[in-house]
């Protein structure tokens, strides 16, 4: 059963799945070590890849640190989650997105990045500086491509195409509905084609 809550906030999930937890989630709520190990193995790799797609430009914020904070927050808030193991991925990515945004805010307030005129452009556009001359299909090349997209389209493409989440999990992670995910994905691919890149 799906309960739709519309028009509240962009960060609030539009559709909340109210379903019984599967066995792994139920065991994880009870503090079972094997369940948490299984969840970590299923989602930690792509969570780390996804976080690496959005470099903050601050050397003090690493994707590994954000991923660790995300897992700890997820464990502390697991009692609020309802759903299956697959849906846990979207919920986990939503936590990671908020963690990354908070870290970026903190970094922008306390920014003390020393820079010279030669390195200033690299700090402002870290991916544009070195991504164009990298080989296609590499992580830097993908990040360079995504840096040309607006933030929302970049997040959608990274969820759907880079780490392979489905549309529902992407909508949960980004706090938008499935239609908005499809529209943003369509626009992003169109812009990438305009850049001369055919994405498969």
């Amino acid at each position: 059963m799906t309960k739709t809550v519309g028009g509240r906030s962009r960060d609030r999930p539009i559709s909340t799945v109210v379903a019984a937890d599967d066995q792994t989630i139920a065991q994880a709520k009870d503090g079972d070590h094997a369940a948490w190990r299984a969840l970590y193995t299923a989602h930690a790799g792509r969570l780390l890849v996804w976080l690496r797609m959005f470099p903050s430009g601050d050397a003090g914020i690493s994707a590994e640190d954000l991923a660790s904070e995300t897992w700890l927050t997820a464990a502390a808030k697991i009692a609020d989650f309802r759903g299956s193991t697959g849906e846990f991925g979207g919920w986990l990515f939503g936590i990671a997105r908020r963690q990354a945004r908070n870290a970026e805010r903190r970094s922008s307030r306390r920014r003390t990045s020393p820079a010279t005129t030669e390195t200033l452009d690299d700090l402002l556009h870290p991916l544009r500086a070195h991504g164009a001359d990298t080989a296609p299909d590499s992580d830097n090349w993908i990040a360079w491509l995504l840096s040309h997209l607006p933030a929302r389209e970049r997040e959608v493409v990274s969820c759907l195409d880079v780490v392979g989440l489905d549309v529902a999990s992407t909508a949960t992670a980004l706090g938008i509905n499935a239609s908005a995910v499809r529209v943003a994905h369509h626009r992003a691919l169109k812009k990438l084609r305009a850049l001369g890149v055919e994405v498969s």
Binding site: G31, R37, T41, L48, V49, A75, D80, P136, I142
Partner: protein, 218 residues
């Protein structure tokens, strides 16, 4: 046009035991929240929630009513503008800064005795009994009272020329040691302005302000 794949190679990560222990402990201690706000168990039922909401509404209503009552009483509590005061401005008298400062003082009029109020009312009704200008007063020998430190330098002859004006206030002015209460006596003490120069130096300015002002205005 370049061709490429956006799909990254996703590694498979294995957690270490410490992290798994910590995640499991956090999950076991996790408690559901309601919209991010922890709801106490006592307020979990709908009946308890209704009672709490009703109490909150009643508290807000009572507060608003109390505030409205206070606001409506604010204007009534304001003191009325002084109808009669110590330094009553008479037509034709120049206004000095110090006199204007004294005139609206309601505290001084509140502290006037009944005899002083009657004296002032009589002064207003019968301006003929007003003391003559200080320049026309014959130079009588000045007999200072025993307590010159009070600043009331009214001579006996001067007081006699004023009739009963100083019956109740002169003694008060003489025995006073310079506080505000002898202002009534000094107010009618028109002669004090003449020789107020020496009196003003012996005591504070406030006590002789009435006499000094009248003397200077004349």
């Amino acid at each position: 046009m370049a061709h490429g794949r956006l799909r990254c190679e996703v590694p498979t990560l294995e957690p270490d035991d410490d992290l798994v222990d910590r995640l499991a402990a956090l999950a076991a201690a996790s408690r559901p929240t309601r919209g991010g706000v922890v709801v106490p168990i006592a307020f979990g039922s709908s009946a308890s929630r209704a009672v709490v909401i009703a109490a909150a509404i009643a508290a807000v209503t009572a507060g608003a009513a109390a505030a409205a009552t206070q606001l409506s009483h604010t204007r009534q509590d304001e003191p009325a503008p002084p109808g009669s005061s110590v330094g009553i401005q008479r037509p034709g008298e120049p206004t000095s800064g110090r006199e204007a400062h004294q005139t609206p003082s309601t505290h001084r009029s509140d502290r006037l005795s009944g005899a002083q109020v009657r004296d002032q009312a009589r002064d207003q009704e019968d301006p003929g009994t007003e003391a003559p200008p200080a320049a026309n007063i014959p130079a009588a020998p000045v007999q200072h009272t025993t307590d010159d430190a009070s600043g009331d330098t009214t001579s006996d002859s001067t007081r006699d020329s004023q009739g009963g004006d100083h019956d109740g206030s002169a003694s008060q002015g003489r025995t006073d040691d310079g506080d505000d209460t002898d202002s009534g006596g000094n107010n009618v003490d028109t002669g004090g302005g003449e020789d107020g120069s020496d009196s003003g130096t012996s005591s504070g300015d406030d006590q002789d302000s009435g006499g000094t002002q009248q003397g200077s205005s004349d």
